[in-house]
Subunit: 393 residues, 2 copies
């Protein structure tokens, strides 16, 4: 069925259990869906934009209050909405990174951090992961020392992902930030997999910048996200324009250079706002999410030849699993090859795994009910048993 | 009525004739509204993202085809979607503008162009407008000469708005581009008020870059837009990452640095796509839009003391009007002050003018039916007559 022209209706999240690793936290709430319908048109939140003409100061709808609540939500001083976490990285990197500067990321950092550095001519240096795919404070300290010897200039920025996108592993964020502060290196906390799904306290962590993703973890439409800072850093990252035009003498008000002025003028912002009360509530129930996730992890572990590549026990619902010794063995001789696996799940109403993948793959159980998690777990075991893979009961 | 939490339902464009200057071209089509409902969730267009994992290469929904059609639509070689026209300016300025470089804009340029230059440390130089608020090729040539004398370095970029946001005046774009080419200055054509509402032919104009706004003129949700380039410039602006991580040796595929990788992963893109067939069609009927606009312009001109500040006859539906000698005179002694005017229009189902404004204000009749345009015209005259302002019949 088409919803418009050649575009098929999308009903993945209505008709299936969707365990796509990047989509789980970005499903809209019912409130967001209703708000999206009301605010679909272009500049829909700008009906009552008045002086000084800036998005975060609009009172109706209550965009101004939302900005303050957003800062409080991650316990930082100032927050702005941005078109995706990557645009938060960009605003920060644009402010601090000069050509030739060494910038620290980790061996598990997301590619968008790399792009924000590369765009400014910065030199990427990775903090290595340990044998368990964890970024430790010791590794951070050693790398800082190494980079300081290599470069004759300060390190202007360090990016750290609380949970990485590859394994969903938890890294030593608080300890790494503490180390960085000893060297006066500003730290950007990448909360793409935390802000909106588990509690984040920027001040307790000691972060200079907290970045979150609306479409990844805040039940919002894409592209959306948040960049929150300490008040000290806000004056730098959210600096207002100082330009003065030579002929007309025009100046440009309170527009923020690093954000290119206003950012989310319609449906994306209203979606974030409408989901926000439920998002504020849901972060308190992370334990339940982990518990549901564990039901699935244990089912996978019971399938012989299957390895959880992520840290275990799990601290996140995003998990990377190695089924080379189980489902991939079946794929070798199955007439549908690797597709037998994704098809078998699809037949059971489960979607979100890359079709054909049977070697190493990722999934995310975020947002599943306990019943759905149990169903997913038993489905995985069923598919194993149907294909002659032994299961430890 | 609330649609979610403390957010009022928005029904401005369903219940009123909305002549807001920036909203007219960004109202969703019915097709976009349907697609938005189906694709509201975060990363909704990414269900079938496969290698090489880049937005513009997704086949289902047909994002790849849309990108090619978008380039053809403005007659350029390569196109990418961006989170608003400003992010197109940013990508181009980031590529070409170095600290201390003089960059040309015009006396009527939009502030977002200024920010994209300022963010890169460029120096803003304006091409003056003439006494009719038009940017001429002669003024451009003179300014280029002047800036060349002032700076000992090349001018890396010139921004020209086909129609400006202040007056909706048409500027000598083709002629200015011809002049710029003689000096080897790349030109960015700002089509925020053209792409999606009237025909734009980038190659005929000779532009290096064509930028359009989804939420301003392409019947799409915010933030959205298009950046299209010649094939020569595409290799520069859409350069792919060359970074290689020092520890892991990771490289980052075909991600485009200037865009921060993928840009519009959900509702914004699908809205652009769903509206696109109707947008392709509607640009052919610009004459009808101008003709409807003229009905309103003539009504305003018939109200004594009212001046059309925009060029006349009008070449655009966005118009700036001076009512200091008419409605503002009434406001001086009216108990509701300037609000009498916006209230009187609101009582007639007309909205989109800044409440209280009676001196100089802007409106846009884009998208009105002839019947609505006539109704708006007669409403303006009625409000004038009711308040004792003479009207030339």
């Amino acid at each position: 069925m088409k919803c418009a022209g050649k575009i098929d209706v999308r009903d993945v999240d209505e008709s299936s259990i969707n365990i796509d690793p990047i989509q789980a936290g970005g499903r809209l709430t019912p409130e967001a869906m209703k708000a999206v319908i009301a605010y679909g048109d272009g500049y829909s939140v700008c009906d009552q934009c008045r002086k000084p003409f800036r998005l975060d100061q609009i009172r109706t709808p209550p965009v101004d209050i939302f900005h303050r609540e957003l800062a409080a939500f991650v316990n930082m001083d100032v927050a702005r909405v941005v078109p995706g976490a990557r645009r938060g990285f960009q605003a920060v990197a644009d402010t601090y990174v000069q050509k030739g500067d060494p910038v620290l990321i980790t061996a598990l950092s997301h590619y968008t951090e790399v792009l924000s550095i590369e765009a400014n001519g910065g030199i990427i240096r990775e903090i290595p992961k340990d044998e368990n795919n964890i970024i430790t404070a010791d590794a951070a300290a050693a790398k800082i020392e190494e980079v300081q010897r290599e470069f004759s200039r300060p390190i202007p920025l360090l990016f750290i992902d609380h949970f990485d996108y590859q394994y969903g592993n938890r890294h030593q964020v608080q300890e790494i930030i503490r180390v960085a502060r000893q060297y006066d290196i500003p730290v950007l906390y990448n909360g793409a997999y935390t802000v909106g799904i588990l509690p984040v306290d920027g001040k307790e962590l000691g972060a200079d910048f907290v970045v979150g993703s609306g479409h990844k973890s805040m039940a919002a439409p894409a592209p959306s996200g948040v960049l929150a800072t300490s008040s000290e850093r806000a004056a730098e990252v959210f600096r207002t324009t100082a330009a003065r035009a030579d002929v007309t003498g025009r100046t440009f008000g309170v527009k923020e250079v690093g954000l290119m002025g206003c950012t989310l003028m319609g449906v994306t912002l209203i979606g974030m706002m409408a989901s926000f009360p439920r998002v504020q509530e849901r972060v308190k129930h992370w334990d339940k999410e982990l518990s549901n996730g564990n039901v699935v992890v244990e089912a996978l572990r019971s399938i012989q030849g299957t390895k959880i590549q992520s840290e275990y026990p799990r601290n996140h619902t995003l998990t990377r699993v190695d089924t080379i010794g189980s489902f991939d063995k079946v794929a070798q001789s199955h007439k549908k090859r690797g597709f037998f696996f994704s098809n078998s799940l699809k037949d059971r109403g489960i979607t979100g795994i890359i079709p054909g993948a049977t070697k190493v793959w990722k999934y995310n159980t975020y947002g599943l009910t306990q019943k759905q998690a149990k169903y997913l777990a038993s489905s995985l075991i069923e598919v194993a048993e149907e294909n002659g893979i032994p299961v430890n009961r």
